[in-house]
């Protein structure tokens, strides 16, 4: 047994070291100094923007995930395998390329983008572009979580409810939703963590306008490049705390409801 321990110990050190470093650097000049950096108006607006982007992106993503999982697992149709593959495409696209996609579509250099700007609804270098890029990056999260779970659960329970006269919505709300709630929460949790932390894609579409289109991760970069180390690491510390909360909730879900989550997470 003793010989097996160095590996997990080493990996724990490598995994936890960045986390410790974040808090160590943030508190280098004490709590007061660190907290003061968060009351900076730009930092406040970054926090608000990140919350706004997550609040818009995550529900949209959940809606897509539920719809896709329903269409894929409750019906047999041609082209299903292709659609499943296409949903996963964002996983193999660089975040920077993801940002580029929306700059090309809606940027001032495109006809559509120019028209949108002229009509007072800019997408690139504005909040809608940040939402679209984040949506692309997090696109497969909820769907990938729900599809295996719903596939395993089959259709019998829904069919029974329908036979007994329940409407479609009632069947979904009272039969399907309770069966998938923990898997849905799991997907939403991961989706939210990524949405709040996305950097590359957002960096490209946002234009990094201070106080307007700068999210928390972009603010970290700005502070860092301005040698405002404590401010950068304090903002990073807030996101690191979010990551810890995510991990805790995720682990709790895995331990408690392992049988209701996708097979890949069972252990």
């Amino acid at each position: 047994m003793g010989a097996d321990r160095p590996l997990p110990c080493l990996l724990t050190v490598l995994l936890f070291a960045p986390l410790i470093a974040v808090f160590d650097e943030a508190l280098r000049r004490g709590w007061a100094f660190a907290l003061a950096s968060l009351s900076d108006p730009d930092a406040q607006s970054a926090i608000r923007l990140t919350l706004l982007v997550a609040a818009v992106t995550v529900p949209l993503n959940a809606a897509f995930g539920i719809a896709a999982a329903w269409a894929i697992t409750k019906f047999d149709w041609r082209g299903k395998a292709w659609v499943i593959t296409l949903i996963d495409v964002p996983f193999s696209v660089s975040p920077v390329v993801a940002g580029l996609l929306f700059v090309l579509m809606f940027g001032a250099n495109s006809a559509l983008g120019a028209w949108l700007v002229a009509n007072g609804f800019p997408i690139v270098f504005a909040v809608p572009g940040i939402v679209l890029a984040t949506l692309f990056i997090t696109f497969p999260f909820v769907a990938r979580e729900l599809i295996p779970v719903m596939l395993e659960q089959g259709r019998a329970e829904e069919e029974a409810a329908l036979t007994l006269g329940a409407s479609g919505w009632r069947t979904f709300l009272t039969v399907t939703l309770p069966n998938i709630r923990w898997a849905l929460l799991y997907g939403v949790l991961l989706c939210n963590a990524r949405a709040m932390g996305e950097f590359g894609a957002v960096a490209v579409v946002s234009g990094k306008i201070r106080g307007q289109t700068t999210t928390m991760p972009l603010m970290i970069e700005m502070f860092y490049n301005e040698y405002l180390s404590v401010a950068a690491f304090t903002m990073a510390g807030v996101l690191a705390l979010l990551a810890l909360v995510t991990l805790t909730l995720k682990s709790a879900l895995e331990w408690r409801y392992a049988d209701q989550l996708a097979a890949t997470h069972r252990h």
Binding site: W70, F75, V93, V96, L101, A236
Partner: protein
């Protein structure tokens, strides 16, 4: 009897086909398919294949592409080996703190890339907690060199192999190993001929996921890389630099090159996987 795409194969009493399929296809189109098509159209029709090649076929771009793929391969191979080992230890052994380590494996998924980036830079900088002793003992600089890029990509890609291999190890019956041992196989032979073939498909899937993620990774790399042209400048950074001077065609060319190489690699891994599954089926 028509073979229309998306046609239902059989009538069903299940409700919500139109609604769920509609939401799925609309969002898939708006968020993924149309933007990807616009990129390819802009590259091949708007700019031209020859012009794109002229952008890519320059030393600085070539070096960046090579660096991105080399570093991603090195980091993913490291994660393949250590990911399988770690998954094995996490499934087969009991030790104090096991649950915490198991949960911590997902930390790179949960921690935003920019946070990981500045934290790793602080640790591995020449005056950092790990950077200073490494520099003094081995004379190796980690941050602001290619090794720093490897470290960032190893961190980002670690969970993929562990999480894909872990459930498979759980499924392996200890009796299979015991049978192999009873039949006179050495411990090493049991590992190479019994266990590894069973883990191979899952490990390859994890490797492919880690590779796909590392090739395009940006946030965790740019802080630690140093970003010296031709030396530590990754391909995604070149796209950002092009966009900063509004050279959209140049950015598109590099993006198309990255997509082409990534999808070729993933296709190759998929083919290997199909072959290894067939071989497993034949056994």
């Amino acid at each position: 009897m028509t073979a229309r795409p998306f046609a239902l194969r059989s009538p069903t009493p299940m409700p919500g086909w139109g609604l769920s399929f509609g939401i799925m296809l609309t969002m898939l189109s708006v968020v993924v398919l149309i933007p990807m098509a616009v990129l390819l159209w802009r590259g091949f029709v708007g700019f031209g294949a020859a012009e794109m090649w002229a952008v890519i076929n320059r030393p600085r771009v070539w070096n960046a592409l090579e660096l991105s793929f080399r570093a991603a391969l090195i980091a993913s191979l490291f994660n393949l080996v250590f990911g399988v080992l770690l998954a094995w230890v996490l499934v087969r052994y009991r030790f104090p703190g096991k649950r915490i380590i198991d949960a911590a494996v997902d930390l790179p998924f949960a921690l935003p890339t920019a946070v990981a980036g500045i934290a790793l830079t602080a640790i591995y900088a020449p005056n950092g907690v790990f950077g200073a002793p490494i520099l003094q003992t081995f004379g190796i600089r980690v941050a602001y060199t290619e090794i720093g890029i490897w470290i960032a990509l190893i961190f980002v890609g670690l969970p993929f192999v562990v999480r894909t291999v872990q459930p498979v190890i759980e499924e392996i019956d200890r009796e299979t190993e015991e049978a192999s041992a009873t039949l006179g196989a050495s411990r090493l032979r049991t590992i190479t001929h019994v266990i590894l073939p069973m883990l191979a498909p899952a490990a390859l899937t994890g490797f492919a996921l880690a590779l796909a993620r590392s090739v395009g990774e940006y946030g965790s790399v740019i802080f630690i890389a140093g970003n010296l042209p031709n030396v530590t400048e990754i391909a995604p950074l070149l796209i950002v630099i092009r966009l900063e001077v509004f050279d959209y065609d140049g950015a598109v060319a590099i993006a198309v090159a990255m997509l082409a190489i990534s999808f070729t690699l993933l296709l190759a891994i998929n083919l290997i996987q199909i072959r290894s599954r067939r071989r497993m089926g034949a056994v």
